[in-house]
């Protein structure tokens, strides 16, 4: 059925994009964090 | 930013000073007259090529008038702030402690005057090119609509133009910021103009409620601009 393709696609797009964004955030944070001393991060 | 710095001119005096200066710059340079007006008119002609049907053109004429106005607003706002940033005059205005609210109102008024002229010519072009026509009553509605719409457009244009003025890539940033905001003006002004033109047999009385939308928009963004211009401009 054609509809099934659309339904699967919407879930793949939804969680795929969220996952990709989350990965991007973590990757960029990791890059910046090399230069920032650990004790300056209030959340740790 | 404080708007009442002691020793500097007041907000109203500044607004008049800036508006007079902007209009004088236009009178001398004729950039809008020689470049923006022809641009807007050529857009109207291009619409005719694209739509390619007298009946369709007659039907969508009001929308095209305001669409051409919106495109021209982008160019006019850019020009208005290019005058200020070209030789660092904006820096001088800030370093002279000139009240930002006064700068906003002045530039907005000058822009509004120029826009009124543009809209008048575009309506004329619609009459000639798209066979639009209107009665006396329609003319009154049209003038009122144009006043409220240009006031709103000038307010938003000045506000976001000032924000984009110092930025790199301001040519692309300005449309991105401006176009979503002015959707109500496009909708309201187009509908009101449809009634004024009697497009699709719409009565003139149906146009007046749309004017309310335009007035609300103009008032809200004039006030917002007067308040927010300082913080946006300031570094």
């Amino acid at each position: 059925m054609d509809d099934a393709g659309f339904i699967f696609a919407s879930y793949v797009i939804t969680f795929g994009l969220v996952g990709a964004y989350a990965l991007g955030v973590i990757r960029r944070a990791r890059k910046s964090s090399r230069e920032v001393p650990r004790d300056e991060r209030p959340w740790l | 930013m404080s708007n009442s710095v002691p020793g500097s001119a007041g907000v109203i005096a500044t607004a008049r000073l800036i508006a007079a200066k902007d209009l004088r710059v236009e009178r001398r340079s004729r950039v809008l007259l020689n470049q923006v007006l022809p641009f807007a008119l050529i857009v109207m002609v291009m619409f005719a090529f694209a739509l390619d049907s007298d009946a369709v053109l007659e039907r969508v004429a009001p929308g095209l008038v305001w669409l051409a106005t919106l495109f021209s607003v982008l160019v006019m706002v850019s020009r208005s702030f290019a005058v200020e940033t070209g030789d660092g005059a904006l820096d001088q205005l800030r370093s002279a402690g000139v009240p930002a609210t006064g700068i906003f109102i002045g530039k907005m008024l000058a822009l509004m005057v120029q826009l009124m002229v543009l809209v008048a010519l575009l309506v004329g072009a619609a009459v000639v090119l798209y066979r639009a026509h209107f009665s006396w009553a329609g003319g009154v509605l049209l003038v009122t609509t144009a006043t409220a719409a240009t006031c709103g457009l000038a307010a938003v244009g000045t506000l976001y133009g000032g924000l984009a003025a110092g930025a790199k890539g301001r040519e692309t940033l300005l449309p991105l910021l401006l176009l979503p905001v002015v959707a109500p003006v496009l909708i309201g002004a187009t509908r009101a103009t449809e009634s004024a033109f009697g497009t699709n047999g719409i009565a003139i009385s149906e146009g007046w409620p749309w004017l309310g939308l335009l007035v609300v928009f103009a008032v809200l963004f004039s006030v917002a601009g007067a308040v927010a211009f300082g913080p946006l401009l300031d570094e």
């Binding site: - | 200066k21 004088r24 005058v83 030789d87 660092g88």
Partner: protein, 223 residues
């Protein structure tokens, strides 16, 4: 270093001031004190931070770290209050090219409510009356533009003049006139800080010279 009371006679009082351009510390801990009526010459190589120092004192850029007062006003909190009392002419003159000389000067004068007579006096003082007054600024030479900009400062009654390379592009007469104006302004109670490469000329003019090196200020002593 002497700590100054924020009195009326100390016009500029910076201590360990840091100001940034983007993320570059163009001023890296500058300490400077200037009294009313002084004409201070800023020396130093390009990129030393002279322009940034001038813009900081004009309240145009934020004081990132350290302390600073101009005309008794704290730069950290009330930087915008400094502005209308300070005139800064940088690499740009801040003029409207399509307007005439007199229109430009009148515009800047009127931002502080100057009268027509004051504007005319400013034009005369800078030798801009007569034929030049009615020329559009875009048709002027660089020196004439500079003079127009300075006439704007006179018309604006600025108390502190911050000038970035004001001699650049001026012919010999223009420079003499400029020096005259600066001396007159200082005698009338204005304070002048000039960044200039014209060391000999500016040294005659200045009451004090300081050197800006790598974002810091060093006294050279009275000439």
């Amino acid at each position: 270093m002497i700590a100054h009371e924020p009195g009326i006679d100390v016009v500029i009082d910076l201590s360990d001031a840091v100001a940034v351009l983007g993320s570059f510390p163009a001023l890296a801990g500058a300490t400077l004190s200037v009294n009313r009526g002084e004409i201070v010459l800023l020396r130093g190589p390009n990129g030393a931070g002279k322009t940034t120092l001038l813009r900081l004192c004009a309240g145009l850029i934020p004081l990132e770290r350290g302390h600073g007062q101009v005309l008794g006003i704290d730069l950290k909190n009330d930087r915008e209050l400094v502005r209308h009392r300070v005139g800064v002419i940088g690499h740009n003159n801040g003029l409207y090219g399509d307007l005439t000389v007199s229109e430009n000067v009148r515009f800047w004068g009127r931002t502080v409510g100057a009268t027509r007579a004051e504007v005319d006096a400013a034009l005369r003082r800078m030798g801009l009356d007569g034929r030049l007054a009615d020329l559009p600024v875009s048709r002027l030479s660089a020196g004439q533009k500079r003079r127009t900009a300075l006439a704007g400062l006179v018309a604006r009654r600025a108390e502190l003049w911050l000038l970035d390379e004001p001699h650049a592009g001026l012919d010999a007469t223009g420079r003499d006139e400029l020096d005259q104006v600066l001396k007159m302004a200082a005698a009338a109670g204005a304070t002048v800080m000039v960044a200039s490469h014209e060391l000999e000329r500016a040294a005659q003019l200045a009451t004090r010279q300081v050197e800006v090196v790598a974002g810091q200020v060093r006294e050279i002593g009275a000439p």
